[in-house]
Structures are given as structure tokens and as C-alpha cells.
């Protein structure tokens, strides 16, 4: 595809999507709009998680940690010092935490806060990457899983920074449905361009054969670290959006459950496929809503009764079945247009 055609395509997709964002609140009810907004945030998280897990092939369980960091950084940046004095009940906030403030009334500031959240996550990812990628990626999963726990312990044990287990609320709701959609679109375009760039090819080379990639002159350590940092950046941004759209955050929102949901999404869509991750998000969150009755003990279908927690049993079995019988997910590591169009050489 020539550069001109490519930009034309992106412009068309952008125009259609923004038109959809603009008109959909008039078409759908508020419940659908809430679910859709949630889906957009999860798309950001899923495609960035896919970047490290699917495209680079390094099994990582980091999202909940970085999403928590993004959410807290955004919240702390956007809450005014007076409000923080009021909110921090367990212990007064540190002077630094109290005084950092980007006034959300200035329309630029929320976006600045999101960028800072992402940068903060990316910095932590860099620190984590050093011990982990020095040895082969095996330990990444354990270290990132432990990282999620450490973040949680940190948030609970430092009430002067995060208000402990009480969490924060009254976070300015700048993340309206429209802006979540726009940021999601920007994230999709950016990550798509990363995946199909020289850097993206290096990531896939690391996934397919690390030794061969190394022999061909790919700096595998740098590639893995940068992929991990990019992933963390967008997860931080997604966390900030989540904080703003929900309005209140607490350490218990960012448990391993979040990571597990994202894992199901990218496995369902096909590891390494961006369009797969997007379709996976729609399917997963849609079926989460549809299967909600399973968690409700009043619901029953013949002999089957709803039991609180049954939904997650169903989803974990679903993940196991996908891994056993359809390991490649819906789209494998290809994009959906690879199936629609006549195959041609992408590289």
C-alpha cells in the first residue's frame, strides 16, 4: 500500500469512527453507551497487552499493575490540593502529593495527566525489564505478577500517597464517551504503526526465533524492553481513562482479575493480531454482560442455578478450551483484512 493510500484509509476510518462517536449517544441508550465506553478502554488495554504477549511473544502478566499506576497518577494529578486534604482520611497527604495539581478546567491538562501516567508506567517498566530480560523471558510472568501484588501492597500501606485501602474518589470526569473513543482510536493507530514498522518486525522476529533474531543483528534485549515499555505506557493511559470514567478508584479494583480478563481477550482474538484483540474485546465484554445472570443466585435455567462467581468458572474453562482446541484464537496472528482481501506480501 502506498503512503498516500494509507493516509487516505486512516482518514476515512477516523472520519467514520468519529461520526459514530458523535451520533451513537443519540441512537443507543445510556447503558449501551456505558458498555461501549468501557469497551474502548479495554481495547486500549488489550492491544497494548497484545504488543508484549502476542507480538513480542514474552509472556507477561503486568496490566493490572500498570493500570493501577496510571489510574492513581491521573487521579492524584487532577485532584485539587484542597480536595486531597479532605479525601485523605487515614493520613494527611505528603506535601508533594498534595501540591501536584493540573487544573482539569484547562482542557489540555487531563491529556497531559494521561501522558504523565503513561510515562510513569513506562519508566517502571524499564526498571522491571532490567532484571527480567537479562535472563530469558521465563521469569517475566512471575516478576510482573509479583509486581501487581507489590503495587497493591504499596497502595494499601502508604496512605499518605494513595489514601490506603480507602482509595480516591471525586476524580474529575473528563473522560467522556467521546474522548475515550478518540483516545482509543489514536492508540489503535499508533500501536498499529508500531506493529507494522521495522521495530514491529524485530518484535515478531524475537517471538518466532530469538536466537535467529540475535544472529541477524536484532538487539533482542532492547526490542523486548521497548515493547514492554510501550505496552506499559498505553496501559498507564488506559488506567487514567478508567479512573476518570469510573470516578473512584481503590487498590481492590486492580487485582489479577483484570489481567486475566485481558488475557482471555487476546487469546480469544488470536495472539499477535490487533484486529483480533479488538474483536476479542467486543466478544468478551459483550458476553460478560450477557452472562451476568450466572452470578445472580435468583436466576435459573432448568436445573442450572446462578451462583456468585460462576461466570469466572465459565470463562476460565473457555480459556482452557481455546488453548487446547483452537490455540490460534479467532484470527491467529494475522489481521482480519488478511482474510478478506487477496493475500499479498505485507512486508
Amino acid at each position: 500500500m502506498s503512503a498516500k493510500k494509507y493516509f487516505a484509509l486512516i482518514a476515512i476510518v477516523t472520519a467514520i469512527f468519529i461520526a459514530f462517536l458523535y451520533f451513537s449517544p443519540h441512537i443507543f441508550g445510556s447503558y449501551t453507551i456505558t458498555v461501549l465506553g468501557n469497551i474502548y478502554i479495554f481495547i486500549i488495554l488489550a492491544i497494548s497487552y497484545n504488543l508484549i504477549n502476542g507480538v513480542t511473544g514474552q509472556f507477561s502478566l503486568e496490566p493490572n499493575g500498570f493500570v493501577a499506576i496510571g489510574a492513581y497518577v491521573t487521579a492524584i494529578l487532577l485532584l485539587s490540593p484542597e480536595l486531597k486534604e479532605e479525601l485523605y482520611m487515614l493520613s494527611p497527604p505528603l506535601p508533594l502529593i498534595r501540591d501536584v495539581f493540573l487544573n482539569p478546567n484547562n482542557p489540555i491538562n487531563p491529556f497531559l495527566a494521561l501522558l504523565i501516567s503513561g510515562a510513569f508506567s513506562a519508566l517502571l517498566a524499564l526498571i522491571l525489564a532490567f532484571p527480567v530480560f537479562r535472563v530469558r523471558g521465563d521469569y517475566l510472568a512471575i516478576v510482573t505478577l509479583g509486581f501487581g501484588f507489590i503495587i497493591r501492597i504499596f497502595l494499601i500501606n502508604n496512605p499518605e500517597i494513595s489514601n490506603g485501602s480507602m482509595g480516591l474518589d471525586s476524580i474529575p470526569g473528563f473522560a467522556s464517551y467521546f474522548w475515550i473513543g478518540v483516545i482509543c482510536l489514536v492508540a489503535v493507530i499508533l500501536i498499529y504503526n508500531i506493529v507494522y514498522s521495522k521495530f514491529g518486525r524485530a518484535m515478531k522476529a524475537v517471538r518466532d526465533d530469538e536466537d535467529a533474531a540475535l544472529a541477524m543483528g536484532v538487539n533482542t534485549f532492547k526490542t523486548k524492553t521497548l515493547a514492554f515499555m510501550t505496552s506499559a505506557f498505553f496501559e498507564g493511559v488506559g488506567g487514567g481513562l478508567l479512573a476518570s470514567s469510573i470516578g473512584s478508584i481503590s487498590p481492590d479494583q486492580f487485582t489479577f482479575m483484570l489481567t486475566f480478563q485481558l488475557l482471555i481477550i487476546i487469546v480469544l482474538g488470536g495472539l499477535g493480531s490487533m484486529s483480533g484483540a479488538i474483536i476479542g474485546t467486543f466478544l468478551f465484554l459483550g458476553s460478560m454482560e450477557l452472562l451476568r445472570p450466572l452470578d445472580n443466585s435468583a436466576w435459573h435455567l432448568g436445573p442450572i442455578h446462578g451462583i456468585p462467581g460462576l461466570r469466572m468458572v465459565v470463562f476460565s474453562i473457555l480459556l482452557l478450551l481455546i488453548m487446547l482446541f483452537a490455540r490460534r484464537g479467532l484470527l491467529g496472528d494475522k489481521e482480519i483484512w488478511d482474510y478478506i482481501k487477496i493475500k499479498r506480501n505485507k512486508y
Binding site: 504477549n53 502478566l61 488453548m323 490455540r327
Partner: protein
């Protein structure tokens, strides 16, 4: 510093460390044979604790006020058998089909996470539906909490028994690995799985045995853990399992002795650091990962320095 206090901390550290050690052995055995971080292993330990709890409940008719030793050991034996079967099932139903298809490692790891989450949510449903709540108090014979006074030390019997039991089990595992035919097969399999298959060894039986052995030890660890914090919940295995894995890496993953040493080090750190610096108490759960990161930075092969190119276990 009071000498009695220090001794008390050391004994408590030993006791906590042996629980990590019992679980870490399972990680190290499976990693040695399949090069797979078996994420579900922590939850296998939870299954051990829950099946012991359920067996005790059924045997005593859910009246826990007086539990005899005979009933308790029957329940623990049932738990060990059930947990071993669950361990073998995870291999046969999930890992083996993937290994047979030659699936990439990432598929195995995702499957491991899937099993882990499946066991957690399954037992969450069981606990909520049939046991009446996520958190359950764990009951055991009163004798285990009898306090022994040695000088100024006050130690419950359980705290002494668990480390001794762990050392005996370690010797047992080492005996199996180095003095029995199965053990030779396990070590050979860890060295080169394809050649061992060519030599006519039943690799599935051997790997199944490894899973059963690791799960049985995890069941004992789970029961010990449940007795020390007399409560169980479906998510108890996750953090403990992760810590035990960190202990296995610190000791040198692939080494059984290393796993036990790593477990003891972690147990000491978790007891001693908050003991001497109470302000760090809230950070207890983070020590394992900080330790893990330092080991990965400075000595990735761990204390026992297992180099997979040359030696096993």
C-alpha cells in the same frame, strides 16, 4: 537484643520457611522436567487445604470441636491422594495435549494461568455455595497448638513439627531422585526428554509421577499453612505459590535442596525483618519479589547455581 527473642524469630522463620519449601519443591521438579513454570501449583496447595478441610468436615459430621488424631491423619491422607490426582489431571488434561502438539511455551504458560484461575473460581463457587462463605476457619487437633516452654521461649508444637517434617520429606524426595529407578528416570527425562523416550521409558508415567509427587508435597504444605493461619480461602494459593516460586528461583530452580534453602531464606526474611523493623511489617508480602529481582540481577542461577546445560536437581 534479647537472645530469646532472636531464637523465637529463628524458629518461627524456620516454620514459615518450611511451608514455602514444601511448595517450592513442586515448582522446581516440574520446571526441571518440563521447563514450565506451573502457575497452578499454588492453587494445587489450596486444593490440598480445602480437600483436607472438606474431608475433616465429612469425617466429623461438620462438628469441629473435638478432632481426634486418627481422624485428622485420615483427612490429611485423603487430601494428599485427592491433591495428587488433581495434579496428575492438570498434566493429563491440559499440559500433555499441548506438549504432544508441540505448542509454543507461551501456550503452556497461558494454560497454566487458566488452570490456576479455574481452580480458584471453582473453589470460590464451592465455598460460597456449599461451605457457606469464601473464608473458612480451619480446625485441627488441639495437641498441635500445645505450647512448649523452653527457657524463655514459647513455641507451639506445630511450629517445631513442620520444619522437621519438611527435612524428612526433603530426604525422602532426594532418596526417590537418587536411589530409585523412577528417580533415575526423572533425572534422565530432565536431561533429555527425547532420548529418554527413544530408550523406551514411559515418559508420561514419569511426568505424571513428578506432578503427583509435587502435588502431594503441596498438599502437606497447604495443610500446614492452613493450620498456621487457621483459615483457608480459595485465593490463598496464589500469593503463597508465587512466593514459593520466588524461593525456588532464589535457591536455584531445578534443585530440590535449593528449593528448601530458598524457602527457609524467604521464611526467615518474612519473619525476621518485620520482627526487627516493625515499620516494614506491611511490606512483608513484597520481600519475596524484591529478593527474586535481586537474585535475577546478580545470580540468575540461584544459590545452588544450577546450570541447566550440565546438571539436574
Amino acid at each position: 537484643m534479647d537472645m530469646g527473642f532472636v531464637l523465637q524469630q529463628i524458629i518461627n522463620g524456620f516454620s514459615l520457611g518450611s511451608m514455602y519449601a514444601l511448595i517450592a519443591i513442586g515448582y522446581t521438579l516440574v520446571y526441571g522436567v518440563l521447563r514450565l513454570i506451573n502457575f497452578a501449583h499454588g492453587d494445587i496447595m489450596m486444593v490440598g487445604a480445602f480437600s483436607a478441610f472438606i474431608a475433616l468436615g465429612v469425617l466429623t459430621g461438620w462438628k469441629f470441636d473435638h478432632i481426634s488424631m486418627a481422624v485428622f491423619f485420615t483427612a490429611v491422607t485423603i487430601s494428599i491422594i485427592v491433591t495428587s490426582i488433581v495434579g496428575i489431571l492438570t498434566y493429563v488434561s491440559a499440559y500433555k495435549p499441548l506438549l504432544d502438539k508441540g505448542a509454543p511455551k507461551i501456550s503452556l504458560l497461558i494454560t497454566a494461568i487458566g488452570i490456576s484461575f479455574f481452580l480458584e473460581s471453582l473453589f470460590n463457587v464451592i465455598a460460597n455455595q456449599y461451605l457457606g462463605g469464601t473464608y473458612q476457619a480451619f480446625y485441627f487437633p488441639k495437641w498441635f497448638s500445645t505450647i512448649i516452654h523452653i527457657g524463655s521461649l514459647t513455641i507451639p508444637v506445630l511450629t517445631i513439627i513442620v520444619p522437621i517434617l519438611t527435612l524428612i520429606l526433603l530426604l525422602g524426595v532426594l532418596y526417590i531422585l537418587y536411589r530409585t529407578k523412577v528417580g533415575i528416570a526423572i533425572r534422565a527425562l530432565a536431561f533429555d526428554i527425547y532420548t529418554v523416550k527413544l530408550m523406551g521409558a514411559n515418559s508420561n508415567f514419569i511426568i505424571g509421577f513428578v506432578f503427583a509427587l509435587g502435588s502431594a508435597l503441596a498438599a502437606i504444605g497447604g495443610v500446614a499453612y492452613a493450620m498456621a493461619y487457621p483459615s483457608i480461602d480459595p485465593y490463598m494459593g496464589m500469593l503463597v505459590g508465587l512466593k514459593a516460586f520466588a524461593a525456588a528461583v532464589v535457591g536455584g530452580i531445578g534443585s530440590v535442596t535449593g528449593a528448601v534453602i530458598g524457602g527457609f531464606i524467604l521464611g526467615f526474611a518474612e519473619i525476621a525483618i518485620p520482627g526487627f523493623f516493625p515499620e516494614l511489617g506491611g511490606w512483608k508480602d513484597a520481600f519475596a519479589f524484591i529478593l527474586l529481582i535481586f537474585v535475577l540481577l546478580f545470580k540468575p542461577t540461584g544459590i545452588m547455581g544450577i546450570d541447566f546445560e550440565r546438571q539436574r536437581f
